[in-house]
Symmetry: C2
Subunit: 304 residues, 2 copies
């Protein structure tokens, strides 16, 4: 079972309007809402690809109840730690006139030291074959939370996949995790002049079991102890790039969960196909399964 | 006790952002939320002026729970009819850069015929000294709901104040209510060329017990069987005009609730002072009580 951690769970609310006018008053034509956060996207994609997932995170207040309800309705098993503060919302306003999405992100709820401890205490290590952690940290959670989780995963013999940027990416690499980041997060971590290929290898040099760096339409680079590879999408895909990186994380986590020998070229192939198939769908966390299956055999992977 | 009806109750959410950029991603710096809808503004202003109020409306789902909680926290007694559908939200984004408020209004929840009947059946006529109805109608509530409520109020010997525009304004007047509208709603009801003074009298001619038409910074006109009057604010006030009309409705309802002989020049004086004092506060439903008391003695009322 893939443990998919979203420390900063959200209720993602989407408002469709005809046109967005600053200072205007708008009739919302359609309201959609569902559980959100990068770890939830990972859980959704992994479930779509046929894997068993366990969504992990904090929920508080009535908004937290809505998040828990929606995860249940989506068929995702969840183990949620209650907190006193209210779960955050995000509101995305989509204008029919031009498709523009304007996003408003509430700050995350304050997590107390006791709540953080409770979250850690209930992690079902024996049931998890991999731990995937993605997204921002809410206030109150220690800044080195991901490195701490990666270290505990290692103690339990569970592989950890950490999607993080900047200092958290370096710390997760040093803790021996499989790390996943995008090109901009890599540069935030290792400096503005680092190339993707060199940076990916550098993360392994720091201690990462493996590193996967996504670079949008240019594809992805992976490095592990046995080498480094690059893969590119079969075709350029227009759509919603939000959630494409999470699809990659889901594929990597799923491959590690399978427990068979890790074949990075094969994983990269699947990760590129899944990321492209995620771009095709309008909502982050969704995946066009037919496109994924169609692209999978054709993706070229080259060793570096 | 003033029964303040809000058939289309809402949870009003306000997001402060630094600057609103269409297509951008925004960090929400402050989230505020409270019960909203024009009848709630009426209830808040009446309570601020020292009157007993009973907030009446529909609540559904978790958003409805938040509305009920906030009314309770605000010290407003409420008698709320549960509905199956979820109470609507409004989201107002306020940009610190220029103070612009951009509003997103969700559609109201569907109210079933049984729920509408339940609302009517539980109206506590014996406890209400006046019934004030304000704001839009949610889907499912009959289009002539306000006229129906005014007719039932008359049967129970309870004066009704109806804040409505267009056809609903004419229907409420014909049903013998005290009607309140703004200049634009008056023109929607009686034609684009009607003057405020003539239109106000015309509503009484149609059957209204009295009519009060608000005209922003120009003040208000009232007409009743004994005459017509006009009153103007003491000074021009800069601020948030949303809720100024509701402050007028609150004053009119409070005066009728007092049950003593109705003195329209006196009511107009208080209504103008309260409307101006409402503009001073940034949030609809609030009122600057010190400003109200300061202005009250100085407002000139002239007979027409």
């Amino acid at each position: 079972m893939i443990g998919a951690v979203t420390l900063n769970l959200a209720l993602d609310v989407t408002y469709d309007v005809d046109e967005l006018v600053v200072g205007g008053s708008h009739r919302v034509t359609v309201v959609r809402q569902r559980a959100g956060g990068k770890g939830v996207n990972v859980a959704r994609v992994a479930a779509t690809l046929g894997h068993q997932v366990l969504a992990l995170g904090f929920v508080g207040g009535l908004t937290g109840e809505l998040v828990a309800e929606e995860l249940f309705d989506a068929g995702l098993t969840a183990l949620l730690t209650p907190i006193a503060a209210e779960t955050r919302r995000t509101v995305t306003v989509v204008a029919a006139s031009n498709g523009d999405a304007t996003v408003f992100n509430e700050a995350g709820p304050l997590v107390s030291p006791d709540e953080w401890r409770a979250f850690n205490d209930r992690l079902p290590w024996a049931r998890m074959s991999v731990l995937a952690c993605s997204g921002s940290l809410p206030p109150g959670v220690p800044a080195d939370a991901y490195a701490e989780l990666a270290a505990r995963a290692r103690e339990h013999g569970v592989p950890a996949v950490i999607d993080a940027g900047g200092a958290a990416l370096v710390a997760a690499a040093k803790a021996g995790a499989v790390v996943r980041a995008n090109a901009s997060e890599l540069r935030d971590a290792l400096g503005p002049d680092v190339t993707i290929d060199a940076g990916t290898r550098q993360l392994v040099g720091l201690g990462a079991t493996a590193a996967v760096i996504t670079d949008g339409a240019n594809g992805m680079t992976a490095a592990g102890p046995a080498g480094a590879w690059r893969a590119r999408p079969v075709e350029r895909v227009a759509g919603n790039p939000t959630g494409a990186g999470d699809a990659c994380t889901a594929v990597v986590a799923a491959a590690l969960a399978d427990g068979v020998e890790v074949d990075w070229p094969e994983i990269l192939r699947a990760a590129v196909a899944a990321s492209s198939a995620a771009v095709l769908t309008p909502v982050a966390g969704d995946l066009d399964l037919a496109a994924y299956r169609r692209w999978l055999p054709s993706i070229a992977v080259e060793p570096l």
